[in-house]
């Protein structure tokens, strides 16, 4: 018997071989082919028009609308994002339904590698900029290269969110990879990509303007509305983008965005008189009036701003953590919130956003020394600490620099009285214009200095570095605590949410004992709108920077 294979029946003929090879090959390649087909099948945007929605009409919206420049990436103020956001899209975004969930935008899908070091975004086909150009991965790369590594003379506050982004690789015109040098928590990275500030700009636009769009008013976006006209400090008019990629949106024909300063009586009176349909950042007095109106919704929601005062660590008494803790405990926070109740809406909080899942819950916080309504125990402890630090008789002549804004002026007087009454610290108030305040703070020409600072994300890893980091840009106190810095680094790298939460709580404890600043309160936003405005529910939003595109908003009556 030969071991040779036999030809004929039962033997492997050439045809059988080729067929078998074909089937095998198809079996092997099939899933890949099918997968590719599935990938090509873009999922539509989760932002769909309300089936009951009426189309057409003009929304008259009022918001701070006098930006110092037009470069959204370089900005940190609502004066840019408020009026400009409707003209642009991001890679991914926060769901306008609740302002919380992260959903697709220009990227219809994304993958994160198991080691958390590679984020791949799949981009929508057929998206066009307002000037008719095709949107491709090159535009995303140009946008993010600029955000991550801004050119000289370009300052982008969100660069710090992407410090671990190494290479940005265009895989094909509709696929782009972000390769991280070190993994970061998913929530942090996705939150960073979904930040409303990170609008996608055309590569060509950036090249034509040497990477600086400060003086380019109408650079093309892919957003639901297109620029029509703008009058400085008056009005910005936009019209519906008929070629918007998200078919069926936007629902409005036109947006009239009026310039009104936040908390101004002018904004309040314009809304109450019916000259505008939607008012953002209303003063509490007008907002309360609006709330009483039958056809109006008055919404309050959290904002990403901490109101605080800093203590110059280079000044001897303030370098002592016991003195700073005593100052922290001497603050009657419920009263401080009350003092400004007619000027700006505020809520009590500590060193971490009080409404964030990782911070000490409010119910627990208000039982803590320094946050209680009954000041006696806190004041007693403050006095003990001052005694222990050798300042039982108090401190005289501290220079208290006050930013020339109504809330800070009101608070400064109240804080001055609290410091004097509770721990015998005497301060001299020095009110200065905003730009002078920042000069003085940066130069360290102060003992105490009151102002407010903002963050892009609610995630502590964003602001722990900026506010409390040893060289943080907003660490005006010049504070440093090695234990905290080491913990902050661990929090940045920890991918397990439960472990992270425990670490954030530990960090809070350190900050309570060795305060880098004295938190006064956290800002809230008051919006009001006539009930004919539908599709907008800001009550669960975090801040005013992520959800302000108006693509799913409609008017019940034009």
């Amino acid at each position: 018997m030969s071991d040779q294979p036999k030809l004929g029946r039962g033997r492997l003929s050439r045809r059988t071989f080729l067929r078998a090879a074909g089937v095998t090959g198809a079996a092997a390649l099939g899933p890949a082919v099918l997968r590719r087909r599935a990938e090509a099948q873009e999922t539509p945007s989760p932002v769909r028009p309300d089936p009951a929605a009426k189309r057409g009409g003009t929304l008259r919206y009022a918001v701070h609308n006098a930006p110092a420049h037009f470069d959204v990436h370089q900005s940190g103020t609502v004066a840019n994002i408020g009026p400009q956001s409707p003209m642009y899209d991001c890679l991914i975004r926060r769901d306008p339904k609740d302002g919380q969930a992260i959903i697709p935008d220009l990227a219809w899908k994304w993958d994160i590698s198991p080691d958390g070091k590679k984020y791949t975004f799949y981009l929508r086909k057929g998206v066009k900029f307002h000037d008719g150009a095709d949107f491709t991965a090159d535009d995303v790369k140009a946008t993010y290269e600029r955000i991550v590594r801004p050119p000289k003379g370009v300052v982008i506050p969100r660069s710090s969110l992407f410090t671990t982004v190494g290479d940005i690789v265009v895989v094909d015109p509709l696929k782009i990879e972000f390769r991280l040098t070190e993994a970061r928590p998913k929530a942090f990275m996705l939150g960073s990509f979904a930040s409303g500030w990170n609008i996608i700009v055309r590569k060509k636009t950036l090249e034509e303007n040497q990477g600086n769009l400060r003086q380019v008013m109408n650079f093309p976006g892919t957003g639901p509305y297109k620029h029509v006209s703008r009058r400085d400090k008056e009005i910005w008019i936009m019209e519906k983008n008929p070629n918007y990629w998200n078919k069926g949106l936007p629902l409005l024909d036109k947006l009239e965005i009026y310039h009104m300063m936040p908390f101004s009586p002018e904004l309040g009176s314009s809304f109450l008189s019916g000259k505008i349909d939607y008012a953002r950042l209303m003063d509490p007095v007008s907002w309360r009036k609006a709330k009483e109106m039958p056809n109006v919704t008055a919404a309050a929601f959290n904002q990403s701003v901490i109101q605080a005062f800093w203590m110059n660590m280079k000044k001897k008494p303030l370098a002592d953590p016991r003195v700073r803790r005593a100052i922290h405990l001497a603050m009657d926070r419920p009263t401080l919130v009350e003092v400004v109740k007619d000027t700006a809406p505020m809520q009590i909080g500590g060193f971490v956003y009080p409404f964030h899942e990782m911070s000490t819950p409010k119910a627990e916080l208000v039982k803590r020394l320094g946050y209680q309504t009954d000041m006696k125990p806190a004041v007693q402890e403050a006095r003990r600490l001052m005694q222990e630090a050798g300042y039982g008789q108090g401190i005289k002549g501290l220079d208290f620099v006050v930013r020339d804004i109504q809330t800070f002026k009101l608070w400064a007087v109240a804080i001055q009285a609290m410091l004097k009454e509770h721990i015998n610290i005497e301060t001299n108030l020095r009110t200065v214009q905003t730009s002078v305040w920042f000069d003085e703070a940066a130069a360290g020409n102060f003992d105490l200095a009151i102002s407010a600072i903002v963050s892009s994300l609610m995630d502590p890893s964003d602001y722990f570095t900026a506010w409390y980091g040893a060289n943080g840009p907003q660490n005006y106190s010049g504070w440093n605590n090695e234990q905290f810095q080491a913990l902050a680094k661990q929090i940045e790298r920890e991918l397990d949410d439960t472990k992270r939460k425990a670490m954030v709580r530990k960090a809070e404890d350190i900050l309570e004992q060795d305060p880098p600043l004295i938190p006064i309160s956290y800002e809230q936003i008051y919006d009001a709108y006539y009930n004919k405005v539908k599709g907008q529910n800001p009550s669960t939003f975090f801040g005013i920077y992520d959800v302000c595109r108006w693509d799913n908003v409609w008017l019940a009556q034009s």
């Binding site: 006098a66 930006p67 110092a68 420049h69 037009f70 370089q74 900005s75 940190g76 103020t77 000289k152 003379g153 370009v154 300052v155 982008i156 506050p157 660069s159 710090s160 400060r214 003086q215 008013m217 009058r231 400085d232 400090k233 008056e234 009005i235 009026y258 009586p265 002018e266 009176s269 314009s270 109450l272 008189s273 019916g274 000259k275 505008i276 200065v432 214009q433 905003t434 730009s435 002078v436 920042f438 000069d439 940066a442 600072i453 903002v454 900026a466 840009p473 907003q474």
Partner: protein, 318 residues
């Protein structure tokens, strides 16, 4: 006359050069960094020294001061008046768009001040220390004492809460819609006009009282002329000269007052632009607007001087 005009024009030019130098220097020694407003608080905090150098160069603020001053003069000569630090708008565009609204407010305020002040002054002078005079004088003092911005806020609130009314939110020029335009300018014009009218009433009363006691007025009465003719035909023209002088000065107050009143009424005029530019440390806008106000003030006073000769033929210019 020509010599006089030339001399006055030279003085006016000297005054304006002086104003331009003062405002230029003051704005550059004022504390405060315009980059805070340009980059925002967060951007400013993250700016590196190299970024600062680059941005200051872009804004033209790295040049030596004399060079910056010459650049400004060049911009004035070309009519562009320079570019705002923010958004890149030219100051000339700003003035062309907002200037007409502020000019209307100023002009209307002047008319209101005369329409209110002069009759009140005449009534007070004809019947001094009567109840009408007392009421008029009390009201005059009241309107001088009340701050314009406060009265403006009261008017805005009263219109809102009693009538649910608010003036148009954006500039509507007279030639676009006279009715809407009037709604924008009338409030500030009345507030500013009433305050200036109070000065005019006081001034016209005292001048008229003085003139009424003159020999030629007594002669007119002795000739049997009607009291109305005596006051309006003989006394008033001679009493008006100081009132016209003070009107020129008052226009300065109107310009100054319009800054706060425009702000209170929410009128986007030049006064409001000046306030915003000061807050933003947009020195290019501030220096041009202050210079514009100075030019207007100098010109008005120049024409007031010229009008003396027309009103009083005894005055001749040497």
């Amino acid at each position: 006359m020509r010599k006089y005009l030339a001399r006055r024009a030279l003085f006016a030019l000297g005054t304006l050069v002086g104003v331009s130098l003062i405002i230029f220097i003051v704005l550059r020694i004022l504390p405060g960094d315009p980059l805070v407003a340009i980059l925002g608080v967060e951007g400013h905090a993250r700016m590196t020294p190299a970024d600062r150098v680059r941005i200051m160069q872009d804004l033209g603020l790295s040049d030596p001061l004399p060079v910056q001053y010459v650049h400004w003069l060049r911009d004035i000569a070309t009519g562009k008046l320079g570019k705002s630090f923010f958004r890149g708008d030219t100051v000339a565009e700003l003035i062309l768009h907002r200037g007409p609204i502020s000019a209307e407010i100023g002009l209307l305020a002047l008319i209101v001040s005369w329409l209110v002040g002069l009759p009140v002054g005449i009534v007070s002078a004809i019947k001094p220390n009567s109840w009408a005079d007392n009421v008029a004088r009390s009201l005059a003092i009241l309107f001088i004492a009340i701050p314009g911005f406060w009265l403006s806020m009261l008017i805005v609130l009263a219109l809102l809460f009693w009538f649910g009314y608010k003036a148009p939110l954006i500039i509507v020029h007279f030639w676009e819609s006279p009715w809407q335009n009037l709604q924008i300018v009338i409030g500030p014009a009345i507030v500013l006009g009433l305050a200036q009218g109070a000065y005019i009433a006081r001034m016209s009363r005292s001048c008229l009282l003085e003139v009424i006691g003159e020999d030629y007025v007594r002669t007119a009465r002795a000739k049997g002329a009607q009291e109305r003719h005596v006051v309006l035909g003989h006394a008033l023209p001679n009493a008006l000269l100081p009132v016209i002088t003070i009107s020129g000065v008052l226009l300065g107050f109107v310009l100054g007052g319009s800054v706060a009143v425009e702000q209170a009424f929410g009128v986007p005029g030049l006064g409001r632009s000046l306030v915003t530019a000061l807050i933003e440390r947009d020195i290019i806008v501030v220096q041009n607007l202050v210079l514009l106000y100075a030019v207007i003030f100098v010109l008005v006073n120049f024409f007031v001087d010229l009008s003396y000769a027309w009103l009083d033929p005894r005055i001749r210019y040497a």
